[in-house]
Amino acid sequence: MSESLFGLSPDAVVADLDEGAVHLRVDAQLYPLEAIYAAAYVFIARCWVLLDKPEPNRIRVTLTAKGAQPSADDLRALVGEFGNELLSSAWRHEITKTNRAMIEAVTMQAFSGAMGPPSLDELAAFDFTDEPFEDPLGIAQSWEDKYKKKPAKEGEP
């Protein structure tokens, strides 16, 4: 028997009390697939979880409680916990995406630090001939170098 759960939109959540299951419709534009996976993975220990994609940009998550037959209240709590986990996973995913460059830089520094300082042989073999970077506008030049008086040419006052 399918029915809506009190307080929850029947468009978003439908409960099947006989099966002890709830079907949630998740907007895939709002929640990335990685977040849905992460939330679903957390619930694998407590529920049987099945995903489906009935239409583009909609993912249906079916949670069937393991163990004793759940009541409507139990299913409502399950939906609430899943919603919280989904939001948390989406936010973690967003933070990771935003800070990816910084995380990679810190990780690279940690790895290069773990390799230890260069040996004397490595320093001796290091090629210092390359210019560190191009500076066509002279931004890296010191004020003194840039504006120092040029020696007067012969014949000039």
Binding site: Y37, A38, A40, I44, W48, V49, L51, D52, K53
Partner: protein
């Protein structure tokens, strides 16, 4: 017999295959494909057992898909 449908954009075929291998001792499986879905039909000595194995198969397939980083590309 229980029929499970796994959407190709959500489940990795290799993960489903691995899940089928893990549960091969508990039921008989028939694998098929239907448009956007991988289809697995589960049959066992009785309906209750088939249903339980089918549910475990769903969890295994999802867990292995997540662990490998998503569906096959």
């Amino acid at each position: 017999m229980i029929e499970l449908r796994f959407h190709r954009e959500l489940y990795a075929g290799t993960a489903i295959d691995a899940a089928l291998v893990r549960l091969a001792d508990y039921a008989q499986f028939e694998r098929a494909e239907d448009g956007a879905h991988f289809v697995v039909r589960v049959s066992a000595a009785n309906e209750k057992r088939a249903r339980k194995v089918a549910r475990e198969l769903g969890n295994f397939a999802l867990g292995l898909t997540v662990e490998k980083g998503g569906p096959d590309r």
